[in-house]
C-alpha cells in the first residue's frame, strides 16, 4: 500500500464526513461560525460530535466539555505514541499536536518504515484538517439541501475507514484477542455509560494485555 494513496483516501473519506458534522452542528442550534471554529480548533471528530450532541440534547456546557474531553484523551495517548517517531520541536511540535488524531496516527502506524510513518502522519493529519474544515463549512451551509449523510453512505464509510487502518495492525494473536475484547467491552458498556466512556474504557484492555507477557 502506498502511503500517499492511503493518506489521501483517509483524508477525503473522513474529511467528507465533516458535512455530517457541519449539518449536525447547525441542527443542534450552533451557528455556522461556531461549527467551523469547532472543526478548526477542537479538530477531533468524535469530540466535536459530542459537543453539539450534548448541548443539542440540553446537557449544558460543562457536560458537553467533559464528554468531549473524555473522547479526546485518546489523542494524548496517540501523541505519546507518535512523539518518538516524529521527533519534532517548536512550532512543528505545536502543529503536530493539533493534527494528532485517530486517522493520522492510524495511517502512520499502518506503515512498516519510520519514514513512511512520518509521511503518513503529516499527509493524513493535514489532509483531514483541510477536507474536514472545508466540508464542515459546506455541511453547515448546505445542511438542509444535502439532507441526511446516511443517504450517502458516509456513516458506514467512517467505521470502514477505521477498520481499514486497524486491519494491518492485527498480526499477533494477542492483537486479535484485544480487538475482540475491545469490541465486546465497548458494546456492553454503550447502553450504561455516557458516549465516549465505552471507547476510552477499552484503553484498560490494552494495559491489561500489554502488562504481562
Amino acid at each position: 500500500m502506498s502511503v500517499k494513496r492511503d493518506s489521501f483516501s483517509v483524508s477525503i473519506t473522513v474529511g467528507a464526513y465533516g458535512v455530517a458534522f457541519g449539518a449536525a452542528a447547525v441542527a443542534d442550534h450552533f451557528t455556522i461560525l461556531q461549527a467551523c471554529l469547532l472543526s478548526l480548533l477542537t479538530f477531533s471528530g468524535a469530540s466535536q460530535f459530542a459537543v453539539v450532541g450534548v448541548v443539542g440534547a440540553g446537557g449544558g456546557a460543562i457536560n458537553a466539555i467533559a464528554t468531549s474531553t473524555l473522547l479526546g484523551t485518546r489523542n494524548a495517548l496517540y501523541g505519546m505514541r507518535m512523539a518518538p517517531l516524529l521527533k519534532v520541536q517548536g512550532w512543528k511540535r505545536a502543529a503536530a499536536a493539533h493534527v494528532t488524531i485517530d486517522e493520522s496516527t492510524g495511517v502512520a502506524l499502518a506503515q512498516s518504515h519510520d519514514d513512511d510513518a512520518r509521511q503518513g502522519f503529516w499527509r493524513t493529519g493535514i489532509g483531514v484538517f483541510l477536507f474536514w474544515n472545508i466540508f464542515t463549512l459546506l455541511g453547515a451551509i448546505g445542511a438542509k439541501a444535502m439532507g441526511n449523510p446516511a443517504a450517502w453512505g458516509l456513516d458506514a464509510a467512517v467505521p470502514a475507514a477505521f477498520l481499514g487502518l486497524l486491519w494491518p495492525r492485527l498480526k499477533a494473536r494477542n492483537t486479535w484477542a484485544l480487538m475482540a475484547a475491545a469490541i465486546v467491552l465497548s458494546l456492553v458498556l454503550t447502553p450504561g455509560l455516557p458516549a465516549g466512556l465505552p471507547i476510552i474504557s477499552c484503553a484498560v484492555l490494552a494495559i491489561a494485555i500489554g502488562w504481562r507477557e
Binding site: 494513496r5 483516501s9 456546557a61 499536536a97 486497524l166
Partner: protein, 102 residues
C-alpha cells in the same frame, strides 16, 4: 456568553491541551518494554472500540442498521485483500443502498 460559545471554547482549549501534553510525555517513559507494548496496543483497543460503536451504537442504544451492512462488506473486502479505497467505497455504497431500499 451562550452555552454554545462556552462549549466551543472549553472543548477546543482542552482538546489541544490533551494533544500537546501527550506529545511531551518524556521519551524515557517509552524506553520500558512494558510501556512500549501497552502503547502499541492502545490504538488497537481504541480503534476497535470506535469501529464497534460507530457501526452499532446510536448514542447509548445498540442498533443494527445500514451501517452494519456497509461494515460487513468492508470486512469481506479486507479479507479479499482489496485496496483501502475499495474497502471504504464498497462500505459506503452498500450502506447507502440499504439505507434507500430498506
Amino acid at each position: 456568553m451562550s452555552t454554545q460559545w462556552i462549549a466551543v471554547i472549553g472543548a477546543s482549549v482542552l482538546a489541544y491541551a490533551l494533544k500537546y501534553v501527550g506529545s511531551t510525555i518524556p521519551e524515557s517513559w517509552l524506553a520500558q518494554p512494558r510501556v512500549q507494548r501497552i502503547n502499541s496496543l492502545t490504538p488497537i483497543a481504541l480503534l476497535s472500540a470506535l469501529v464497534a460503536t460507530q457501526t452499532l451504537a446510536e448514542k447509548t442504544k445498540l442498533v443494527i442498521d445500514h451501517r452494519a451492512a456497509g461494515v460487513a462488506v468492508a470486512i469481506a473486502a479486507l479479507i479479499a485483500k482489496a485496496p483501502f479505497p475499495v474497502v471504504v467505497l464498497s462500505a459506503a455504497i452498500t450502506s447507502a443502498l440499504v439505507f434507500h431500499f430498506h
